[in-house]
């Protein structure tokens, strides 16, 4: 339905424009002054100031692989994360553990574990699906590289970022 917007009745001074322009200029000058005096709160100056210490517990940064308290890699190369990964960023090459290995009953381990960080969308589904609690999204967010090859995280890099996460499951601990 069409309706008419009533025009405001301007006073003589408002019709002159110039006084209202002056009051507008006063408003912008106030903002300018407050910025120069540092009274206005502005955005964080990123590389110098960082929010790292205040990242919440549930922050989803780069996905990493973790080891248990016996320095054993948790991943058993079941490839569930590879299958669930929506952007197909994960590529696992499974290998068999030799029978003389202390953890031989695990049967499989990842010979190579690659996460393509140019594809990763940090959704956390790999962490959720992992039956061995081997893959975790940690708090690293500044993942950079000069070419595509550098952006692929290989196994060594993933363990380096992940570190150890002890006392979660004792499934493969022969002592327990």
């Amino acid at each position: 339905m069409a309706y008419t917007v009533r025009r405001p009745n301007l006073t003589f001074w408002e019709k002159l424009y110039l006084p209202t322009i002056a009051s507008g200029l006063a408003i912008t000058l106030k903002h300018l002054r407050k910025m120069l005096m540092g009274e206005t709160k502005v955005t964080m100056q990123y590389p110098e100031e960082k929010w790292d210490s205040e990242l919440p517990e549930y922050y989803r940064g780069a996905p990493t692989l973790v080891k248990d308290d016996h320095e054993r890699e948790r991943c058993v190369a079941c490839q569930l994360c590879e299958f669930i990964c929506p952007p197909r960023a994960i590529t696992i090459t499974p290998g068999e553990l030799p029978s003389e290995n202390r953890f031989a009953k695990v049967e499989k381990f990842p010979k190579e574990f690659q996460i393509d960080m140019t594809r990763c969308i940090y959704c956390g589904l790999c962490e959720e699906v992992c039956p061995e609690q081997a893959i975790y999204l940690r708090k690293d967010y500044a993942i950079t590289g000069e070419n595509r090859a550098e952006m692929i995280h290989h196994k060594a890099k993933l363990y380096e970022l992940g570190g150890t996460m002890p006392d979660l499951v004792h499934k493969w601990n022969p002592d327990k």
Partner: protein, 385 residues
């Protein structure tokens, strides 16, 4: 052969060298740096007005020379204009296939050249090294400024037309009607000033203001007369109309309809890139600087500052005189910079006019006010001998 030798002998080489030296000094040491730093100031002031930080990172890349960090001066980001210029130079010089090539290349030149040529008659200082600080001290000063400045509209119109696409075309049409409309009130509002001073030579305009007080601040010479107070009214009206028309002439907000981003993408320079775009950009800011210097010369006493001693053409060859001359030049450009700040400040305060409002303001108000103001000034001057 003899004719040629006679001609060479008859050329006043000393005068020409001086003029070329002054031109080079003015353009390359003053105006172009001023232009690029006005762009920086525009970005920074707009950011501060809008509660943002603005470009505060680009320092001077001393880290390339092996230092630990880039050199950051007091506000930070002072290297930004240099980086901008580098970017413009390194970009691809792209000419779209559908344009009229000759005019497409001509337009940016036509936008830049008039803005710089008008500076020739603007006196930007008193004396330096035995030279009068104006490139061409001609008697038709202000007439020359208006004549050359109006060529600037061709740059925009030709750019809009030769781009052969709808947004530049609309921008060009808007620019032509707008600039032609406001040139009227611009010229007419300067008439009361010239009637009062009785001279078109801009150096003489400044000389008059030194003797009788600045036109807009009439008591700078310390003499209080009732006539000056009465004349201040028409002069103030003149100043306001002149300033508003200057905003419209230089296509600054609130009158930037030729390039209004929200409707016309970028207006007349939509199809331009790299250095050709930069020339439009520089031309716009150079025109702003010329406009500000004109306002300073006509209304704010040019390079004159009360209580600051004058130097003469003889004394300017000695060191104290030369320093004094340098101070006069700085005073002039400080006034220009203050007006440039006003330009920027107003741009980030006011919204854009609608086109019919712009035309109405130009033809129904400013034109009439400027015209009536001439008669008012004439009446005062005729009745008050």
């Amino acid at each position: 052969m003899n004719v040629l030798l006679d001609f060479i002998a008859s050329v006043p080489w000393g005068l020409m060298t001086a003029a070329i030296a002054k031109t080079l000094f003015l353009i390359f040491l003053v105006v172009l740096p001023l232009v690029s730093y006005t762009v920086y100031a525009e970005r920074r002031v707009s950011a501060l007005i809008q509660d943002r930080v603005g470009p505060n990172r680009t320092g001077f890349p001393t880290s390339l020379l092996g230092f630990q960090k880039d050199l950051q001066l007091f506000l930070g980001g002072l290297g930004q204009p240099v980086a901008d210029a580098m970017k413009f130079m390194l970009k691809e010089e792209f000419t779209p296939g559908h344009v009229n090539k000759v005019y497409f290349w001509l337009a940016p030149i036509l936008a830049m050249v008039p803005a710089l040529s008008t500076l020739a008659v603007v006196p930007f200082g008193n004396f330096m090294l035995g030279q009068k600080m104006v490139v061409a001290d001609v008697n038709v000063g202000i007439l020359y400024v208006f004549a050359v400045a109006s060529i600037g509209v061709y740059g925009i119109v030709i750019a809009g037309w030769s781009s052969n696409s709808k947004y530049p075309f609309l921008g060009g049409i808007r620019a032509s009607s707008q600039m032609i409309s406001y040139e009227l009130s611009l010229g007419l509002s300067a008439v009361p000033v010239l009637m009062l001073i009785g001279n078109l030579n801009l150096s003489e305009v400044i000389q008059y203001q030194i003797n009788n007080g600045w036109l807009l601040v009439p008591f700078t010479n310390g003499v209080f007369t009732l006539k000056k107070l009465v004349l201040w009214g028409p002069i103030a009206i003149s100043f306001i109309v002149f300033t508003i028309s200057m905003f419209a002439e230089t296509n600054r907000l609130p009158f930037d309809l030729p390039e209004s981003e929200t409707e016309l993408v970028a207006g007349y320079h939509t199809e331009y890139s790299a250095m050709k775009f930069a020339l439009f950009f520089l031309g716009e800011y150079a025109a702003m600087i010329v406009g500000s210097s004109l306002i300073v010369v006509l209304f704010l006493g040019g390079w004159h500052l009360p209580l600051l001693p004058m130097n003469t053409i003889e004394s300017s060859e000695t060191l104290p005189g030369a320093i004094l001359g340098l101070i006069h030049i700085s005073v002039f450009f400080a006034k220009v910079a203050a007006l440039l700040f006003l330009f920027i400040w107003i741009r980030w305060t006011l919204p854009r006019f609608r086109f019919d409002q712009l035309m109405k303001l130009g033809w129904l108000y400013l034109f009439e006010i400027a015209l009536a103001n001439i008669f008012l000034t004439a009446a005062i001057l005729a009745l008050w001998k």
